[in-house]
Symmetry: C2
Subunit: 144 residues, 2 copies
């Protein structure tokens, strides 16, 4: 009987993606976790608010591809830390506008810089072409 397949799972892209994702996420964690006591979802929500300005929880769900329960809890946690504020002065009383407080904006500025540096270090060993292809492939795979 011949070998049906000599496919090596080291080539399994989801596996590589998972390893790479875990490696980088764990490494970057210390910037928001140890310093600010934030969870990953909180950092993501903070980032979206800092990056795209005041918006609804719904918008964050869509953009960040996070489930509404995750966002709901992260918003609660960020509110407790006084990093964001809600206001529901809209006509639609179901929704509430989320925006960072001054403290939240400071944290965001700090973390954005850390992220930028972290990323630069991460891809430092790659050529410009490799970086471009990497990001392009990842974006396509992620469905962006």
């Amino acid at each position: 009987m011949t070998n049906i397949s000599d496919y090596d799972l080291e080539d399994f892209t989801p596996y590589l993606l998972n390893l790479a994702s875990e490696t980088t996420s764990l490494a970057f964690q210390r910037h928001y976790r140890t310093t600010y006591g934030m969870l990953r979802t909180e950092w993501r929500v903070l980032f979206h608010l800092g990056q795209y300005g005041p918006q609804l929880a719904r918008d964050i769900c869509d953009r960040a591809r996070l489930h509404k329960t995750k966002v709901s809890r992260a918003v609660g946690a960020l509110e407790e830390k006084r990093y964001l504020r809600r206001s529901e002065d809209t006509k639609d009383r179901r929704q509430e506008l989320l925006e960072l407080t001054t403290m939240g904006r400071n944290v965001f500025a700090e973390l954005r810089q850390a992220a930028q540096k972290f990323d630069a270090d991460l891809v430092a060993e790659f050529t410009l072409e490799e970086r471009a292809i990497l990001k392009q492939c990842l974006a396509r795979i992620a469905g962006l």
Copy 2:
């Protein structure tokens, strides 16, 4: 006030990695979850045993970069499903050699084929060069 930086989260590699990883992992889940009732960690452990042959839990921890508690629980679950067997005939009575049963090897063969097809479809839209660069970059980032 000037804009300190126009760095965008979309450019943050860990974020892209996370999105891509989640997207593919969720998509592949159905192959081991719905068909065999396995969890992600179980599939990973099975994969490592099938790929690299009989070994200690410790080896799987190192190679798969999984915490020992996760591996311990996954091994227990796989044993219950009769996909693996333990034997502690070693000189060191603390450790036990893990190996797949015939059934476990069949499941592995089946899943490996599914993985191969899944992966082929995933990267189908990329050129050979792009695929090579993608894998190379991911491996480097993952520290392989």
